[in-house]
Amino acid sequence: MENGVITAGLEKYFNPETTEEVKVTEGTHAASYAVGLARVKVISAYPITPQTSIVEKLSEMCASGEIDAEFIKVESEHSAMACVIGSESTGARSFTATSSQGLALMHEELHWAAGARLPVVMVNVNRALGAPWNIWADQSDSLAQRDTGWVQLYAESNQEVLDMVLQAYRLAEEIMLPVMVNMDAFFLSHTTEPVAIPKQHLVDQFLPGYNPKFKMDIKDPRAFGGLATPDRYMELRYNIQKSMEGALDLIPKIADEYDAIIKRHHGGLVEEYLTEDAEYLLVTSGTITGTSRIVVDAFRNKGIKVGLLKMRVFRPFPVKVVQESAGRAKKIAVIDRNISFGQSGIFFNELKSALYNLETRPLINGYVAGLGGRDVTPSTIEKVINHLIAAEKGEDLIWMELNYESDEI
């Protein structure tokens, strides 16, 4: 296949009616093309591996006039987030991208973007945090930002990255909260896959221009970021929570609308794969999902009823959907490429909590695997499922494939 040409057989993956061209592209560039298609006006970023190629591509697209946006390169990620907080406040659709330590440095500003109700969209490339230094895939960076008021979405493929960024703008601007789109370091960020670039006029139809109710406008002067006393603050927090809850209804709706216009659907809050009659349910997010599909098929071929629940949304946490889907299974295995020290894998913990109020609760096991970019292979996932099938009672934390165990610090 060449760029731009949909050859015979690919129609089943890429709709020729809605596709401008098919690019063989890495995950970072898929994000950049989405930002271009979203007609973003301001981009600000600081380089960090493995995010850098997102903004490099955008910088090129800005400079060549391919997109009509201001590109502001700053001196740190903290400044990058501050910069888009500024630009969004003026009513300009804005974008930034980061990873790992960069996201950690933004922490203070993440709260601010959400509290100020600014619909910034950011792509975070999931990478491990130091010390020790590690640049590979791990979700601990974004999950540590759980309570900042950002919607968090997780992509499985480069195509999903592109589609998710476009849907993220729709969502963000409807609920007036920032959205973080996450992709795994290297497994997506630096892996090339064919990605359909949708036609611009269809994207424009799906995502109209941004026109906020409040913005910095000299004809309508207002003050921003003032003090909220104890008699006001709590209601503002309540409003954020309500908007987050609203996102639970909106995310599937927006996905359906995208499908109606662009003809592609990756699931709403979750994607269910062979879950209807599943006795054993595997729960994953990010790229571990793709590998899991193959393993689930293999078990199905042996007549063992394994299903797969892909978590696309972490915040707001889709409690109801999880209860419906996971509640049907006998036993559940959650695979986490992250760890909350002193507790367990983070998705596991959220899932377990969501299932607590069910009348009959399935057995649930938490597996931590692939930290710091270690491969999670089909054999790893096979071990998880076999362990789950044999399990007699639930275990919160099972470490997969440690090279050694030591009691030393």
Partner: protein
């Protein structure tokens, strides 16, 4: 600690050095390893602290204590180390990205406080580790991956920044001048107070030749003036030109044995001369100074802190936390 004499091999770690072949960092590493045994400090009293960037791989390659720290924060980490254990000799290795971009704030406050540490700033005028974006020292108009049509930003001059923020030792050297580099690092390491060395370093992959006019043997003598104690600022292939001090700035004159011109004197210098020398860097018609711009003795923050703690203890006695908690604005609710 035994009295054995250390060699550069003693400071060479077992780590494979992973910079690109031809990188200027190799020269800085070699000269640092050469200088360290000359300081007469036991290995275990030396700490190298770095942040993020190619330069920041440095601590791996020196057999001493080392911390590969958080991006831009090496000055803050080093300050903590020095204040907690003033017996240690602390080096900070940073670059134009790490030290001047994300960590610029920490660096100026380090200079201001005059904490007794040595800063080696590798300036290659590019972000090398992230593969070629313009940095805070890149020249205006520079075409990089993050500025495909030329950077619009004015560059920092790290020397002026150090002078203005109050560093007490400020110098510059070049990776391709190994002897000068070793002497400068040694002087910096022996200085008491914050010492700062800007090292022009060629990134042969992403910014090759950025200092070529200062390193090409055919032309470098016309473009560099070496500041030497007690000597006038003579330069040129034929040593035929000199910097003359006129009305608060330097101009270039023909060097004539009979004429008298300003002599470089660190003891008698003043900030006007220091800044005027630093200003030459950006002036394309004048040579770039290398050597020591400033060396003055001032109280160090760590020295003052130790003294203050001692004085207060002497006056008030050792503290009692229990007493402190129940002193001042406390009241009893009945």
């Amino acid at each position: 600690m035994s009295d054995q004499v250390l060699t550069k091999e003693d400071f060479t770690s077992d780590q494979e050095v992973r910079w690109c072949p031809g990188c200027g960092d190799y020269s800085i590493l070699a000269q640092t390893r050469k200088v360290l045994p000359q300081l007469g400090i036991p290995k275990e009293n030396i700490v190298f602290v770095s942040g993020i960037g190619c330069s920041s791989r440095f601590p791996y390659y020196i057999d001493s204590f080392g911390i590969h720290g958080i991006h831009g924060r090496a000055p803050a980490i080093a300050s903590g180390i020095k204040l907690a254990n003033p017996d240690l000799k602390v080096f900070i290795v940073t670059g134009d990205g790490d030290g001047l971009s994300i960590g610029g704030n920490h660096l100026i406050h380090l200079f201001r406080r005059n904490i007794d540490v040595t800063v080696l700033l590798f300036n290659n005028r590019i972000y090398g580790l992230t593969k070629g974006q313009y940095s805070p020292t890149s020249e205006r108009g520079k075409i990089t991956k993050s500025s495909p049509f030329g950077s619009l930003e004015n560059p920092f001059d790290p020397i002026k920044m150090a002078l203005a923020s109050g560093a007490t030792f400020v110098a510059r050297s070049v990776d391709r001048e190994p002897k000068h580099l070793a002497e400068t690092i040694k002087m910096a390491a022996e200085h008491v107070g914050t010492s700062f060395v800007e090292i022009y370093q060629n990134c042969n992959i992403f910014n090759d030749g950025t200092f070529e006019s200062l390193t090409d043997p055919k032309i470098k003598k016309d473009n560099i003036v070496v500041m030497e104690e007690g000597k006038p600022y003579i330069f040129g292939k034929e040593s035929d030109r000199v910097l003359a001090w006129e009305d608060g700035s330097f101009s270039v004159n023909m060097h004539d044995e009979a004429s008298s011109s300003l002599v470089h004197s660190l003891a008698n210098s003043n900030s006007s001369v220091e800044f005027a020398l630093a200003e030459l860097t950006m002036d394309e018609h004048k040579p770039t100074p290398i050597g020591v711009f400033r060396k003055i003795n001032k109280n160090t923050y760590d020295g003052l802190l130790t003294k203050q703690v001692e004085n207060v203890k002497e006056k008030l006695g050792s503290g009692d936390l229990e007493k402190l908690l129940s002193s001042g604005n406390t009241w009893e609710i009945k």
